[in-house]
Each structure stands twice: as C-alpha cells, then as structure tokens.
C-alpha cells in the first residue's frame, strides 16, 4: 500500500491508517468466514491466506509510477480528486484508492489522445446538445486545466491548490464547476471539472487492474461484488448474500 501522509496539505489521519491496513480485509473475511460460499470459489482460499499474511498485502506496487504527469501535476490531481471523493468514516477517499495513478495511466494510453473519438476539423462551438466540440485531447485538457487553475489559485491565495485549506480547495472546485476560471478560449473550467469528476468516479469504481479502486475498496464501500464470474450458485437463495468482491485478475486464472 502506498502511504501519502507526508504530502503538504494532507489531512489528519483519523481512520485512514485503519482502513489502509488490513482491517477491512479481515472484517470482510470475518463475514465470509464459515459461509458456504467460501468453498465455492477457489480464489477465496488464496484471499484468506493473503489476509493473514501481512507481507502479501504490503508487497510493492510496481505500477505506482508516473507515465504522464510530473510529480507536481500528480500531487495536484491527487489533492483535487480527494476533495471530489474525500475519505470519511465510511471508507477511503480518492487518494487512498489510487485515483491519481489511474488518471495518469489513462492519460498515457489511447484515451489520453482521444484515439477513438472524432478529432478532425473544422471545429465550431456548437450548442450544448451537440456535445463536446473541442479540438483539445484529454492530455491537453489536463495540462492546460492544471496550469490555469494553479495560476488562478496563486493569484487569489498566493498558494498552490495542494497547500490550500480544505474550505479554500472547495471554493476553487466550486468556481471551476461554475466555469469561473478561464482555461483556454473555447474551453471552460466547467468542462474540465466534469472530466475530473468523471475520471475520479472511474478511478474509484473501475476494476483495480487500471490502478484505482485499491484492494477493491471502492467496491467494498458499496458492497458491490465486483466482476463475479457467475451468480449461478446463489441465484436460488432467498436471503441476502454478502459476497467478497472479485476482480478481473481472478478471471485470468480460470
């Protein structure tokens, strides 16, 4: 697990250290415990062993490195997404879930250059009903957006977004959402905010293979069982069944 507690502007760790340890995993295992379901999935055994052996959980995550952002840009995205999806008593926030790594890796891939979208000219503003008409790629939206919002923060607070207090960070996001921060001619901060919000939710809830949703904790928060191969074994049950989530990694071994 990556700890990000030394960042400037990081918040007091009330419950985070608990969540980020093995508490959640052990609790989930507890509810599974003697359940008949445990025997039905071969992976369950593996999970149980992993939960009792801390070394398996603290293994290095080699994909926690940057392909697109600079470290400063990464920290900016980490701070912004944490305000969009903050940690609270219910569970971890965007930072602990790896959302900024998710976004960095998405931007480095085909989505970053809008590989499957129509990007040829001519470009006209259009009406809202005609969808986005920008010539900017997602990479360019992020780079210009981060720069413009950072500059706006410097002008208003004489600080970068990461150094701001939570209430000030929320003011900045509200101004972005209202389209009050000039980014580029023809591209509003509101559109950038929508991209950030969508990417944050994607990073929280998409399969952990993409770098977010760490330890499937985004799914556990919603008691979502993840990418179950089949519900065939449970479909006849009349009672609510709590399943441990399964990720696509498990599908590869089948």
């Amino acid at each position: 697990m990556n700890d990000s507690k030394n960042l400037p502007g990081s918040k007091p760790m009330s419950r985070r250290s608990f969540v980020k340890g093995f508490g959640t995993g052990l609790l989930m295992m507890g509810t599974m415990g003697s359940g008949m379901l445990a025997g039905m999935m071969s992976d369950r055994k593996g999970n149980t062993q992993a939960a009792t052996a801390p070394s398996a959980h603290s293994a290095l995550v080699f994909t926690d490195a940057l392909m697109f952002f600079t470290k400063e840009q990464f920290q900016w995205v980490e701070a912004v997404t944490e305000r969009i999806f903050p940690y609270d008593d219910l569970g971890p926030g965007a930072k602990a879930l790896g959302v900024a790594i998710f976004i960095d890796h998405q931007l480095a891939g085909p989505w970053g250059i809008n590989a499957r979208e129509y990007m040829a000219g001519p470009f006209h503003p259009g009406s809202p009903t005609q969808g986005t008409q920008t010539h900017l790629t997602h990479q360019q939206i992020y780079l210009n957006g981060i720069q413009a919002v950072s500059q706006w923060c410097q002008n208003k607070y004489q600080k970068g977004f990461v150094e701001l207090a939570q209430t000030q960070q929320d003011e900045v996001l509200a101004a972005m959402e209202k389209g009050e921060i000039p980014i580029l001619k023809g591209y509003s901060s509101q559109a950038f905010f929508e991209v950030l919000k969508a990417n944050t939710l994607e990073g929280v809830y998409s399969d952990p293979l993409y770098g977010g949703n760490r330890n499937m904790n985004g799914w556990k928060l919603k008691q979502y069982p993840g990418a179950q191969m089949s519900y065939y074994g449970y479909i006849e049950e009349s009672k609510k069944i709590d399943l441990d989530p399964v990720s696509l990694k498990d599908h590869l071994s089948h």
């Binding site: 499957r116 005609q130 293979l209 696509l248």
Partner: protein, 108 residues
C-alpha cells in the same frame, strides 16, 4: 477495385436485432439472404474480460470507432450540423448482433 459477387435475393445491411430478424424470416420463406456487418469478428474468447465496466461501458469498446467514422447532426434546421465527436446518448454498435451483442453495456 469493386468485387462483383453472385446475385442473391435479399441483401440486409446491418445484422442487429432488426436486420437479423428480417434475414431469418426471409430465409425461412425460402429466399437467399446475404447479411452485411462491419466491425471486429468477435468470438466468445473476446469476452473473457467482459466484466470490465471501464473498457466496455465507459470507453465503448463494442461501439463504432468514431475516429474513423461518425455522424453529424443538428436539432433543428437553424443550427449548423456538427459531428458527434464522442459518445453521448446515441451509441453506434458494430459487430454481428448489434444491440443484441453490446446491450449498451448495461449488464455488469
């Protein structure tokens, strides 16, 4: 160079729900039918990672690649028609089966 194929009774363009039923009924009535479809020739093995919501629902893997071809549209004649640059509510599927294949990515 255009390839000239043998004459047939019916050609159905687009083998989705509608085209598939038409092709089926025309065949049952004894007509010779050719169905045309575009996109990847997908097999069952292509769906082994089908529970990937980001890849299929959000990144639209089963939909037409808009960088190659898209539609233009306007909501009334006074507007300028513009290309659909990314997917919104209207999804163009490709591959045999059409919406019967991609289900708009709603089941996960």
């Amino acid at each position: 160079m255009a390839v000239k194929l043998a004459k047939t009774d019916v050609v159905v363009v687009g083998m989705g729900w509608a085209g598939g039923i038409i092709a089926s009924e025309a065949s049952k009535a004894g007509l010779k039918v050719v169905g045309l479809e575009r996109g990847k020739n997908r097999q069952t093995s292509d769906f082994a990672m089908g529970h990937d919501e980001l890849r299929f629902e959000h990144r639209k893997e089963l939909m037409q690649d808009l960088s190659k071809e898209t539609v233009t549209f306007r909501n009334n004649p006074s507007m300028q028609a513009l290309p659909m640059r990314k997917y919104g509510a209207f999804h163009l599927g490709d591959g045999v089966g059409g919406a019967g294949l991609h289900w708009n990515g709603c089941t996960h």
